[in-house]
Amino acid sequence: MSLLLEGLLLPFTFDFMSEALWVGVVIAALCAWLSCFVVLKGWALAGDAISHGILPGVVIGYWLGVPMVLGAVISALGCVLGAGAITSRCRIKEDAVLGIAMTGFLALGLVLIAASQSTIHYMHILLGNLLGVEAHVRQQVWLMSAMTAALLVLKHRDLVLYCFDASQAAVLGMPVARLHLLLLTLLAMTSVVGLQAVGVVLVVAMLITPGSTAFLWTRRFVPMVMVAMGTAVISVMLGLWASFYANVETGAAIVLAQSGFFLVSFLLAPRKGVLARYLSFRRAVRTDRRRAAASCTD
């Protein structure tokens, strides 16, 4: 037992591993928080578009030497708002337009990367590099996480109402368009944070999976956020162990662990899991039959 514990804790006695753990935990928790809004608002595709749409902005940001959040937020908003503007003006369905915008932005980012001299730097952006987050990037992660978390706390009620019933929010005099923009901006900022761990390609998983998993376990919003954060944080630990002991790509291992949580929840979650639903249905049918049989013999 203590041997197992030792084995679990051993990796984090190394500085680079414990640093990765801290950064990873913060990133995962933040993404998980946002993922609850994404899932409830039905924005999985928009989240995908945002997380891919940041790429050109990040690359150009590097070139110009401006903080990468700035470029990322501008380019992500350009991606989704542009797609929205096109959808409302033509007969192509929203998912197709979003798909076009997102792949277009991703391709543009790849072209820009190819055009720049050093390619090593950008592999981190594509695949993430939790084990080697540079100090100045780590500072950006702290800052953006703190800002996003503060906004999420302050605007919690308004965002929940906006997601649940936007027209009621409007009737109550809330600035619905601004809340919409706020949520998109927070998503873009969180994507930038999230890509440090798992990269642009996989960051959308961190923005969809924990919320979906938590949705299966809970019936209230705040518990949903807690469960989402819990599974996301444990996934980071699993990912780090896997990469330490088995030399697996960290980002991929984290996302794989999150997918695993989802699959298990889909099967086993109380009330909303398939097994629980099947068993409760069977139980109900059995009582029905027993009651019917009893009334026949009466």
């Binding site: 302050l154 997601c163 649940f164 009621q168 409007a170 009737v171 109550l172 005099g173 209230r220 518990p223």
Partner: protein, 256 residues
Amino acid sequence: MTGTPSTEGVAAIDIQHLGVRYANGHLALEDITLTLAPGEVCALIGTNGSGKSTLCKALLGLIRPTTGSISVQGGPIAQARRRGSIAYVPQAEDVDWDFPVSVRDVVMMGRQGHMNWLRLARRHDHALVMAALERLDITALADRQIGELSGGQKKRVFLARALAQQAAILVLDEPFTGVDVGTEQCIQSLVRDQGREGMAVLVVTHGLASLAQYCDSVAMIHQRMIAVGPVDTTLTQANFQAAFGGHPMMMTDEAH
């Protein structure tokens, strides 16, 4: 009423020559003029597609009028909304029923416009939520998830939310569709009581028999205003045939 500026003598709702055209070019409303005094309960009736819901949405500022003007408590709609003065229960709730909120949470949303910038619910808010739940007889359901209710129960929840808002103006778009007799009477008595307390209520309905019992006035529309005035003098055979395309008026509530 909370959040209401001094409104002595000012109409709660003042709609002047309102016209609404949808983006697809359809003219839904034309030259509608309607005023409601504080405490007035007005029924809005008309055929399917006559523009009743459109009128409600325009009144709430959810649709922009193409012509004419609407003022609420003497000011623009946006101002009234920010004061939390208008409560609205739409014809069909377009919400995600799987959303992880409880009945109590939903009713509390009615209070949100009155909360300060930190949006903390105070004791007063909790008390109003409890009172609204009690008034609609859904206290026992307070901790249910919103999707775990029947259609009629859901209707009561959204009415409770509107009630908890303590608005000066209440807009109900077909609150009686798909509800049983008990719920219908509960809603009617609620509307009557709110009217007595000074709330102006605009209620869209297809049930004509009981109008006189809970409404002060009736407005009959068919794209244009056909007739408007006190229930007994306005709900005449001639007006009815004009509004409902020649169908004779049946004084039963079966046409819900």
